[in-house]
């Protein structure tokens, strides 16, 4: 059942994120929904399971993306790990905590990606582009995170699953 929940969440995130109906290829508004899903699983399900899901999610995103295979897998699994480590003693149901962890996740994901691009001497981005993307991701991701948590929480309840953390109070 947990795998069903994860599969539905990932499929929805990937479909929405790759759909030209929701996002334009070069428009300013773009949010990484898969990252939000990874953050949700790290916050509420924790453990090695969250790390594995982060890795698989990143790999799936790599497969759909034109970027280097493994780049997202690395950044997403690292993000899942960092969030899991940081939220161990935190009540993850509060909106503030969710917003904070989302910001941290976006920062970790972006920095990992940029570092890897630098190491691999891949194409580089100018600082204004990086800052603009980071800010825009944060501004969109933080308000969206409670909605993602609420939706996935409702889905988990529908599947008769109980999160390990948060006590089903995702919406705060």
């Amino acid at each position: 059942m947990f795998l069903v929940l994860y599969s539905i969440a990932m499929l929805l995130a990937c479909v929405i994120q790759t759909s030209p109906l929701f996002f334009a290829v070069d428009a300013g508004l773009h949010v990484d929904l898969t990252l939000l899903v990874v953050v949700y699983f790290s916050l509420f399900w924790g453990g090695q399971r969250a790390l594995c899901l982060g890795f698989v999610t990143g790999l799936l995103q790599d497969a759909l993306s034109s970027e280097l295979l493994g780049l997202n897998a690395l950044s997403k699994s690292l993000t899942a790990f960092v969030i899991y480590m940081l939220c161990r003693n935190v009540q993850t149901g509060s909106l503030m905590a969710q917003g904070l962890f989302t910001s941290v996740a976006i920062l970790v994901d972006t920095l990992t990606r940029l570092t890897m691009m630098g190491v691999l001497q891949s194409h580089t981005f100018t600082l204004p582009t990086v800052l603009r993307t980071l800010l825009q991701q944060t501004l969109l991701g933080v308000p969206l995170m409670p909605c993602v948590c609420y939706g996935l929480e409702a889905l988990a309840q529908g599947l008769r699953l109980r999160p390990e953390k948060g006590q089903g109070n995702a919406a705060g």
Partner: protein
């Protein structure tokens, strides 16, 4: 001898008791309606004849009749219509609510249908444009539809619904009638990923169409590209059109890439700093052409 001078004479008697004057009167009474009818028919025929000959003039008689009758007719009709209108509009409203609801639904259905037709019409126009372009430039080109975008916000790529099974290979140019879009970078059996010219990984060898100055168009992301390595001594101006040079065997020569939007001269540099606005609006791509070899 039998007399049949009157109705009574039909009876079985030998001689009628009715006198001759009375007989004539009875005859006259019998033939009177017939004669009257013939008279009227004669008058009517005369009128028809006169009317036929005087066409198209309106006779005085008709005119007079019309002038006399019509105001009355108008008043009566107006009155009837008013009454009918009052009845229909204010009294007889039993089925109006149901009818209104039904019509509302019908209007909504028709509006939806109209939108679909408009969309189909616009799509037909776009496809016609693509087909015309293909017929005049690349007859072997394959039409494809954009079905997805790159999930990463750091990459500018799209997915099209044509792949290996349709003859698409890696590193073939993707165009629209307006200009160059990009090239395929990954090919699946039924789909292909296309790297747009605005992506930072994209580089296209290019020429300034007016002066034939050479350079390389590199993606800058966010709907912009940059023309690099244009010699400082070359003449290049805002509004110049940039085309592909044909070098590299990926992009055919002469494809429009974009228009120069700004030119800056570096004080100590060897090259111009040139920004190029892509000819194609890459955010609104729906159908493209794959230039299969």
């Amino acid at each position: 001898m039998r007399w049949t001078c009157c109705a009574e004479c039909r009876s079985e008697h030998v001689r009628c008791a009715t006198p001759p004057y009375e007989t004539m009167k009875v005859l006259s009474e019998r033939w009177k309606p017939i004669a009257f009818f013939f008279c009227l028919a004669l008058v009517a025929l005369t009128l028809i004849t006169v009317k036929t000959r005087l066409v198209p003039h309106i006779s005085f008689f008709e005119s007079w009749i019309v002038s006399a009758v019509m105001p009355l007719q108008e008043a009566v009709s107006g009155g009837i219509y008013s009454v009918q209108n009052i009845w229909d509009s204010y009294i007889n409203l039993i089925h109006v609510r149901r009818e209104n609801s039904r019509l509302q639904q019908q209007v909504e259905a028709l509006q939806g249908q109209l939108h679909r037709y408009q969309e189909a019409y616009l799509q037909q126009q776009r496809l016609q444009e693509i087909l015309d372009f293909r017929a005049s430039t690349f007859p072997k080109a394959l039409a494809a539809e954009v079905v997805g975008i790159d999930p990463s916000q750091w990459a500018e790529a799209i997915t099209i619904n044509k792949g290996q099974k349709h003859g698409v290979q890696k590193d073939v140019a993707i165009v629209t009638p307006h200009g160059l879009v990009g090239r395929t970078i990954e090919v699946a059996p039924r789909y292909a990923a296309v790297l747009l010219i605005t992506d930072r990984r994209s580089a296209v060898d290019a020429l300034v169409q007016r002066t034939r100055a050479r350079g390389i168009v590199v993606g800058k992301s966010r709907r912009l590209t940059e023309l690099r390595y244009v010699d400082f001594h070359e003449d290049i101006r805002v509004g110049d059109q940039i085309i592909s040079s044909g070098l590299g065997d990926v992009y055919p020569k002469g494809l429009l890439i974009g228009t120069v939007s700004s030119v800056r001269a570096k004080p100590y540099g060897l090259f111009h700093e040139v920004e190029v606005q892509p000819a194609v609006d890459l955010a609104k791509l729906e159908e493209v052409l794959v230039l299969v070899p």
